[in-house]
Symmetry: C2
Subunit: 297 residues, 2 copies
């Protein structure tokens, strides 16, 4: 059976999925990325592919790649990713795999959104934004049925909207960004050194910790204001929220929806739905596989 | 000679342009909108068309309309525009003109952006945002060569991003919006009752008025932070600024560029250009004419 291989290369793990052209899952694997140079971590990508091939006893017909950083316009590589995954920049993945068809390369949040639209929480939607809440805050936008890429491939970096213009610059110099108001990357600082993960923070809050509640309330407010701005900027029908912090479930979605309702512009009564992502850590690989099917027919 | 008629229906004036398919201006007119009901103001639209027809001695081959409010998905009418221009909502402009070809209807800021891309400051660009600074703050975004419309036609409402989450709700309930930080609609309040137009404010500032300087500095900062957020969200190569306040020229552009430079994310050194709109009050009519040429071939 022909299948598409979607590979999502993260800083910690490489996720690989084999999917039919209709999106049915045939096989999957997760291998650690590890290694501080291209020569060290790229064999692990090959290993993930080999594991899938061995299971299915045939090579993939299509391959797509998702990775952090900005994807090049020609979709052959990641053109910009300073700091992590050394050697990822400008690595041509079609050449790497010696694959006969184009191997499209997508930013990981872009890929996750396409995955959720294909087989997840946003199935069939034409206007969607995705936010991933974790160490940082990632994002992507689909408008009028098309993924926004932009001039440098950076469109949809939703974590880098300012919610506190007087605040400190974040990793890309944005003052008081949503990422810094919510991501685990700043939680230690925001909680006076007490917490390093939002899951810990929420556990403390459920045990009655007043400081934890204040920290979380501030984060939620920053998120609600941002989502409201995104509604006016991208006009989605649906806001999908994923990432580790989305596991907060009842502590996240009901208060977020309530806060957004209080400021949302509702032309003729229209409301935007806010829902949880469905594909979890596999969303990026789903999107990469989908993209490979689009370019490789 | 065949021509496209672009009509921009504003709250004060109706602007009509006759343009060749290449965008050469053949004739133009401006007539007051006036009238508090559909029966009162729509004859003025017809009059604008008649004036152009009489000048050119032939009917237009294509007609396009720009107007405030949200354009319907089928582009036949404005579907949502509460408050101003009574009777505009759901008025079918192809029927109104009894025109043989489709008469596309666009939101006025969307049209202005398409005009600037066709014949103005953004000629040939694929990724552009437009901000119009006047009574309110309007906007539109072109990403990957396509105008963003969104689920309800509200994509690109750049004036309704929050820059002060603790601020008061604006006209669409957005807390502390860019529009309220910069538009003439709030200037009286922001200046302790002293000014009603930014042009007056800037004149006072040039005469050494310290309060006027403070008010303008705050507005500029809100604009710079917003433009920086838009860069991360839409990834434009170009930011085009129009509207009456853009006439501030040297008091606006150099300090705005300087402030944006201090926070802009510059992958591999890339910088976004910030320029003045070129088509002035005619931008919307240019864009409407262009759109009529796209749908009516």
């Amino acid at each position: 059976m022909q299948y598409a291989l979607g590979i999502d290369i993260g800083g910690t793990n490489i996720k690989a999925l084999a999917l039919t052209a209709k999106g049915r899952l045939l096989a999957q694997t997760v291998v650690p990325t590890s290694g501080g140079s291209r020569a060290e971590w790229t064999p692990n990508v090959r290993q993930a592919m080999t594991e899938i091939q061995n299971k299915l006893r045939t090579a993939p017909a299509w391959i797509g790649v998702a990775a952090p950083g900005l994807a090049a316009k020609d979709q052959r590589s990641i053109s910009h990713m300073p700091g992590r995954l050394p050697g990822l920049e400008r690595l041509d993945w079609q050449k790497f795999f010696r694959h006969p068809r184009p191997v499209p390369v997508l930013n990981d949040a872009h890929a996750a959104l396409l995955g959720e639209v294909w087989r997840g929480a946003a199935r069939g939607a034409q206007n969607v934004i995705l936010l991933t809440l974790g160490t940082g805050v990632g994002g992507a936008a689909l408008v009028d049925g098309r993924l926004l890429r932009g001039h440098l491939g950076r469109a949809g970096h939703l974590g880098h909207i300012s919610v506190d213009p007087a605040g400190k610059p974040d990793i890309v110099r944005t003052p008081g960004s949503l990422e810094n108001a919510l991501g685990d990357c700043t939680l230690k600082k925001r909680s006076g050194g007490r917490f390093v993960s939002t899951n810990e923070l929420l556990a403390a809050m459920e045990n009655g910790d007043a400081q934890a509640r204040r920290v979380w309330t501030n984060s939620l407010q920053a998120l609600a204001v941002s989502v409201n701005s995104f509604i006016n900027l991208f006009d989605p029908e649906l806001v999908v929220i994923g990432g580790g912090i989305a596991n907060a479930g009842g502590l996240l979605f009901p208060p977020l929806r309530k806060a957004v309702r209080q400021m949302e512009w509702r032309p003729d009564g229209a409301r935007v739905r806010i829902v949880s992502a469905e594909l979890g850590y596999r969303a990026g690989a789903y999107g990469a596989a989908w993209q490979s099917l689009q370019v490789g027919q």
